[in-house]
Amino acid sequence: MSGKVLPSRMTLTATKARLKGANTGHKLLKKKADALAVRIRMILKQIVDNKQLMGATLKEANFSLAGVYYAAGDDIKYQVLQNVGSSATSKVGFRVDNVAGVKIPVFDKIESENKAQDLTGLARGGQKLEQSRTSFTKALDNLIVIASLQTAFVALDEAQKITNRRVNALEYVVIPRLEDTVKYIATELDELEREEFVRLKKVQASKKKKIEEEQLKAQETAQAALASGKPAPQPAKSMLDKQKDPDDLFS
């Protein structure tokens, strides 16, 4: 949008309507930006807390794993690695949530059946193994929670940046421009009105002058006629005036 528009009453109303729209949009977007900011701060805190917790749960899990090696020997590692099935038993379910108008992915753990069909060859240390499995599962749960929070954070952060950009664009570019246009049209219209007014006055003045002149002239001729004793010349009778004609049979 470069330059000004044609100054007329129509464009004035149109521009005013656009300005109103921009102002409403600005208010709404600001609310959205604030809501996002609040959400982000909440999630931030949760992430930090959970990551600290993660340190603890993983330490415990690793510790229990050491217990397994102690009980069942080192080649457990090899067995586990070799015995990985063709389909993971613990997966994450991917859901999309709507938070403050932003689509956020949410993860939750999905456990499928046929767990532990491997590792049947391990007679020793079965209990320790189960303990270790439990602790790692717990750690995994915690990590999935953190993953959810992290993605939520990234998504909200992105959305907040975009919203703030829009708010600023409206506030510093669109609305001032529209206000300028409104002012411009208003001044132009005022000026046109003034010109019109001046022109009208001038025309009235010249008309008035003409009438005055004619009156003066009529007065003069009347006076002259009176002075010379002749009857004042009457205005000639027009033949077009309707006169009663007795010869008209039908009228």
Partner: protein
């Protein structure tokens, strides 16, 4: 939809998570985990990271911080939402928030907010 959890880390970490049931190996011998030993090259780690994050069916990539450090620049560049990359401590290295790429971004955000 269902998605996987990948893990890149030392033997113990990977074993542990495999116990929890996240492991999967398909017919082409492609797995969703990488055991990093002193013999593993950085290129192998990079390739695994890139492969895992490009997969459509992966939601989370767990990576131990020591391994993460070796491909720190890749992690700092990584901006995508899905999959999420999570840095985890390992048996020998406790969690260090000052190195975690995502944590750094978060802390920067917090300081900007204040």
């Amino acid at each position: 939809a269902d998605a996987l959890v990948c893990v890149i880390g030392d033997e113990d970490t990977v074993t542990g998570f495999l116990l929890a049931g996240i492991g999967e190996v398909d017919l082409k011998k492609n797995s969703n985990f990488l055991v990093v030993t002193p013999k593993t090259t950085t290129t192998q780690v990079e390739d695994a990271f890139k492969a895992f994050t490009n997969r459509e069916d992966v939601a989370v990539v767990l990576i131990t911080q020591t391994v993460a450090d070796s491909i720190r620049y890749l992690l700092d560049e990584y901006q995508a939402m899905v999959p999420t990359v999570l840095e985890i401590p390992s048996k020998d290295n406790p969690y260090d928030a000052s190195k975690d790429s995502v944590m750094q971004r978060i802390l920067k955000k917090m300081s900007v907010e204040k």
